[in-house]
């Protein structure tokens, strides 16, 4: 969902109301200089990731070619080769795909579960709110990376478990982000009115509460994605995330540690991919924040 294709911005105002509203959001993100860079960077990352996952970059990311080991960037291997003669471009692209997949899966889980928990707790209050609030507090008592490490150590390594670990860390964050605005929306006149009119509670939550509390959740999503990419690569760097020979950006940096002084490209490209993805998501988040902030709306 972060891949907001720039051309969608040009869709005319004749679209259906829901699309029109989304288009306006896209237009506003695009109008924000940070948001525009974020959209472009993330589009490029996703395209590269898809190309890498589809393995159409001319080299296999896992095949070893000892005869061309540690070659610098060239026409044959744009990003050079590693100590086993594997193509760095193909590996970086597939690593990007791995990172994006873990980030998307984990943040999707955290966003759905966290938002549902936060909205129901904030809307209904009472013991439910007490229990959810306590749970959030407890999970907040762990430094994030530590909680992820604890979960990974219990579940074992591999990308699915990394995704679960990141989801566990981010669920309470989404719950807290969703709960706050729900508290104020829950007492609003129009909610009372729709209750009095006998509209089913699920419909009230879906049609009236969710749209009003979604802006901070949307912004949080981009930050969560960037944190997820950092955490996935950190866990892989430690050898607790994605397992070899499956390429992963963190693992590539870890492999490059001993050879970086003679082969800078083994570190530079995977590291640059992580940095770019994180910067892109942060800028996208900035753009979304100013697009969604009513205070900054131009008259």
């Amino acid at each position: 969902m972060t891949a907001l294709p720039p051309q969608a911005v040009d869709a005319g105002p004749a679209a259906a109301p829901a699309t029109a509203r989304r288009d306006r959001l896209l237009t506003r993100v695009w109008r924000d200089p940070n948001g525009r860079i974020g959209v472009v960077v993330m589009t490029v990352m996703i395209v590269v990731g898809v190309l890498g996952a589809a393995q159409v970059l001319g080299h296999d990311p896992i095949d070893q070619h000892p005869e061309v080991r540690l070659r610098g960037p060239s026409g044959a291997n744009w990003f050079g080769t590693d100590q086993f003669g594997r193509d760095i471009l193909a590996r970086t692209a597939e690593g990007i795909a791995t990172s994006l997949r873990v980030a998307a899966v984990s943040v999707a889980i955290a966003c759905v579960i966290g938002s549902v928990l936060g909205i129901t707790a904030g809307f209904f209050g009472g013991w439910l709110d007490q229990v959810v609030g306590r749970l959030i507090d407890i999970l907040f008592a762990f430094p994030a990376i530590l909680l992820a490490l604890a979960v990974v150590s219990a579940l074992g390594s591999g990308w699915q478990n990394t995704a679960i670990a990141i989801a566990v860390v981010y669920t309470p964050i989404f719950a807290r982000v969703a709960r706050g605005p729900t508290l104020s929306v829950a007492t609003a006149e129009y909610i009372k009115a729709s209750r009095v009119l006998g509209i089913p509670i699920r419909r009230v939550l879906w049609r009236h509460v969710l749209p009003n509390v979604s802006p901070p959740i949307v912004v949080q999503t981009t930050l969560a994605l960037s944190w997820a990419i950092l955490t996935e690569s950190a866990l892989s760097f430690l050898g607790l995330g994605t397992q070899p020979p499956q390429p992963s950006l963190g693992l590539m940096v870890s492999d490059a540690r001993d050879i970086v002084s003679i082969a800078w490209w083994t570190l530079a490209f995977p590291a640059a991919a992580i940095v770019l993805a994180v910067i892109g998501l942060n800028l996208l988040g900035d753009g979304l924040r100013s697009a969604l902030d009513p205070r900054r709306e131009s008259p």
Binding site: S153, A234, L238, L267, I279, N282
Partner: protein, 320 residues
């Protein structure tokens, strides 16, 4: 009076949270991997004497239902018994006692450098919003947030080895009280690497608070009264921008405690992070759960201190 009641409630809340943390650690690390000891003993049985074996089984009480295990574990924790390492047979409390000062010093050093640099850079950038210095500092801040610690650490270690033939000291930790230079030669570089992300966060918050406060009416009034710019900057601007900065610094400091895992690994420092990492790899669950618990407890304590601190800094928060 009301202040005391607030304080007592806050402490009770922290204790309750800690109890919850203990239960979460117990559930995550005990019930999911199944019987941790027999799994570990299956491979490592040769390294443990029968007495240690019996002691471990007694400590775990593996035959008891899980709620009884939980209660007895908490009982043991309250007596300061953190269990025995499955791989080395040493008491976990002793291992943590040796590792904790390393991590705390690393975190304190990184936080001190990061806060100082972050506040100064934030004021520097925020004093001229939209100016070149603002854009450059903000860009650097974004880069500082986006570069993972393990990349920065790897690059730093490589550069230090190339340029100064400096290699991480893999020996024992030298306490600051023993030798200042020996200690700093171990701690300074990892602390600098850790402080980059910290500084970037503090810088961004300081900048946005600074810009926001600078637009407030009381700043215009202070200017109108003819107060010196230096005084306005410190006594009016910074003081009002301080609450979010202190909160952020506190939270970040807590994250540093947990986030030293990677840096301690790269710089070969014998701290909590390294202890946790090696015990995860060895499936040494008594160490894993105790290190996680100790760091979480510190984190809860820091959050409590931050809460108290900003009631001191910002009198408005005392009224509620």
């Amino acid at each position: 009076m009301a202040s005391w009641r607030w304080f007592a409630a806050r402490i009770a809340g922290a204790v309750l949270t800690l109890l919850g943390v203990t239960i979460v650690v117990f559930v995550v690390l005990r019930t999911i991997p199944g019987d941790a000891i027999s799994a570990a003993l299956g491979i490592e049985s040769g390294t443990l004497t029968p007495a240690q074996h019996a002691a471990l089984e007694h400590y775990y009480g593996v035959d008891k239902p899980w709620i009884a295990q939980l209660v007895s574990w908490i009982g043991q924790l309250l007596q300061g018994n953190l269990g025995v390492s499955l791989t080395s047979g040493k008491p976990v409390a002793g291992l943590i006692g040796k590792a904790l000062p390393v991590t705390v010093e690393l975190a304190v050093l990184a936080a001190a450098i990061g806060t100082a640099a972050g506040v100064l850079l934030g004021m520097f950038a925020g004093s001229r919003p939209g100016h070149v210095r603002d854009s450059v500092t903000q860009g650097a801040g974004l880069l500082g947030l986006a570069i993972p610690e393990f990349v920065l650490g790897t690059v730093t270690v490589t550069l230090l080895a190339e340029a100064f033939a400096y290699f991480p000291d893999t020996g024992e930790y030298v306490p600051l009280t023993e030798s200042v230079s020996g200690n700093l030669s171990q701690m300074l570089y990892p602390a600098l690497v850790l402080s980059v992300g910290f500084a970037a966060n503090v810088m961004r918050t300081t900048r946005s608070e600074y810009v926001e406060v600078a637009g407030a009416d009381f700043i215009r009034t202070a200017r109108g009264k003819g107060l010196r710019p230096g005084r306005i900057r410190l006594a009016y601007l910074l003081r009002n921008a301080l609450v979010p900065i202190v909160t952020l610094t506190g939270i970040q400091f807590g994250y540093l405690l947990g986030g030293t895992v990677i840096i301690e690994q790269i710089f070969a420092l014998p701290g909590m992070g390294r202890l946790l990492f090696t015990s995860i790899n060895d499936r040494d669950y008594p160490i894993v759960q105790s290190t996680v618990l100790v760091i979480a407890a510190l984190f809860v304590a820091i959050n409590l201190i931050v809460d108290v601190l900003y009631r001191v800094i910002d009198p408005r928060t005392r009224e509620t």
